[in-house]
Subunit: 347 residues, 2 copies
């Protein structure tokens, strides 16, 4: 690589695989910290929580596979249950990616639902899908052991910019370290997921928490309220975190591998990035629950325990880069700029 | 579009062209507010500040043109001056896009600079390029009339979440409304650009301001400090705002049209998204200053005055969606989720 490339590379290493050989001596980069994490700090993702989406092959014939991780209960359990049912009914097989809007979302589903320009019949949905309400977009903080902190404590946490991962003393939950959040009283990590909370500020002291729209998160398309969607229509974020969607749409998981097969698709030229020509849609051949695949075909992934020491050091390094390229550490970060490390298990 | 698509469309309208016909009665969406802005609220962008980059045609033969807007002085003036010199020397003609890293950057420059695998000679740079220092990444707040506010005032501004655009009473500068910023004491808009400031907190009361790494912003590749880069190597952000780069690299402008020609490119498979096969690089045919083009070929753009009433209403609506799809207004936003509206003038 050229000098400039090596150099800028040092800056941009954060979201790339660890490349220690490209980095001079100095404080470890976030990637180096992750690469040095102990085996025991990684948590295996259950096969029931992994979905393998296979797209039609690329123009050059190469395989396009995307692996999704569903959020575990108590988050969005009604929708994730529906998604497993739809996958096991092979309902998703043959639907398509219908929309790609730059700096926003890639969306897939049945292109013929209520479509005046339908090119075929709508696909019937399984009869036993669960129906959720707007209230299911959030859960009580107590459900994950999150206590309600005093307002002044919230502010101290929110304004702490020393970059160290803070811990809620009453719960042990690692808080998004010194993360001043633009959309909530507090943002935090819990069991590998980025969450936000009102810390009771919006609700007479009863704290609520909800998953947030970071890059790669997967949400459920819906009609106007009270419709909350079923999980048959999904989208993933391919741009700056659209946090204004938090608490307004169900989030059900995230892409853990292969998002480039979605984010690099041609942008749609219709309103909101919809493909105007049906031929532009990308066929989805199948979506399968990993645990239903033959043993040899099951992808295995793990995430870095967000309660671990290495994660705290990683989060701190994301908020305060001290590796050689940097001149001024930021002194903070937003939670969507601290992606939870996920890796495919090599076996 | 299907019911789900129409519905999700209503949510996702924010970053799309105004589509009033798709939206039911209700509070205006951010796009509707922009569409309704008065002609006098739009500010023409000088031809000297617009660069037209023409890429090699796409596989289907279609033209790929990207329009960039350079930041006006006093921001990054040394680098933007170099970039105009490089464009007028036609130095950029024949270089290429060498790197595309998902959720991060697209980078272009001379692929043969200090490259052990060079396929040709390095291009000599013009002799009269300016050399900048790390100190040039920030400027004094006074340079844009930004006064230093008392710490308690800063906090009040930073924690104001009523969503209304606030105005610094001493300067009239519209502050990023109710924007709790994760990376600085304050973020604000000034003459069409998103900026952040320490409000003196980092420097014995002397406020500094600097441009920030939002989606589509353009930065200058550099070597290790004290190198600050020349402007010959550039990148643009195609993912979540990498704000940790603020104050560490020079920002010189933003993409105002055609970013999809960059953001939808295949991701590189080498470290940091570099293309491993030189054949994967995308040739840049030319980069021209708009004012140097023939009158009929000069693109003309304007931005929504960030001191205007319509911008204040737009920013408020971005932070507090009240159009029909939404159930819970966010109550705030981060500055990179309030993109400054820019439009091509229709004539």
């Amino acid at each position: 690589m050229t000098k400039h490339l090596i150099s800028l590379a040092a800056v941009l290493a954060l979201s790339a695989p660890a490349i220690a050989q490209d980095e001079p001596e100095g404080a470890p980069s976030p990637n180096q910290i992750v690469a040095d994490a102990q085996a025991g700090e990684w948590v295996a993702i259950a096969g029931e929580d992994l979905l393998v989406m296979t797209l039609a092959p690329a123009a050059d014939g190469s395989v396009r596979q995307v692996v999704m991780q569903l959020m575990p209960a108590p988050f969005s359990a009604g929708w994730t249950g529906n998604i497993r049912k739809l996958a096991r009914a092979q309902w998703y097989d043959g639907i398509s990616i219908n929309r790609v809007q730059d700096n926003y979302v890639v969306q897939w589903g049945d292109p013929n639902v209520d479509n005046p320009e339908a090119t075929g019949p709508e696909k019937a949905l399984p009869a036993d899908l669960a129906t959720m309400t707007d209230g299911d977009y959030i859960i009580a903080g107590e459900a994950i052991g999150l206590s309600t902190l005093a307002a002044d404590t919230q502010r101290d946490l929110a304004l702490d910019t020393d970059g160290m991962a803070g811990t809620d003393p009453t719960t042990g939950i690692i808080l998004a370290n010194g993360l001043v959040d633009s959309y909530a009283q507090l943002s935090l990590f819990h069991e590998g997921w980025p969450l936000a909370s009102d810390m009771g500020g919006d609700n007479e002291g009863e704290a609520h928490v909800w998953p947030i729209h970071c890059y790669g998160m997967i949400g459920v398309g819906r009609g106007y309220s009270p419709d909350t969607g079923t999980g048959a229509e999904l989208y993933t974020v391919i741009g700056h975190a659209p946090r204004h969607l938090d608490r307004n749409i169900a989030l059900v998981g995230r892409i853990v591998e292969g998002i480039e097969h979605l984010s690099s698709l041609p942008r749609g030229t219709g309103d909101l990035g919809f493909y105007e020509d049906p031929a532009q849609r990308v066929p989805i051949l199948s979506i399968r629950v990993a645990s239903d695949l033959a043993p040899g075909e099951r992808p295995q992934f793990s995430y870095l325990d967000t309660d671990s020491e290495s994660f705290a050091r990683y989060a701190d390094a994301r908020a305060n880069r001290r590796d050689p390229f940097f001149i001024v550490p930021a002194g903070g970060a937003d939670i969507c700029n601290i992606p939870v490390p996920v890796k495919r298990l090599s076996e």
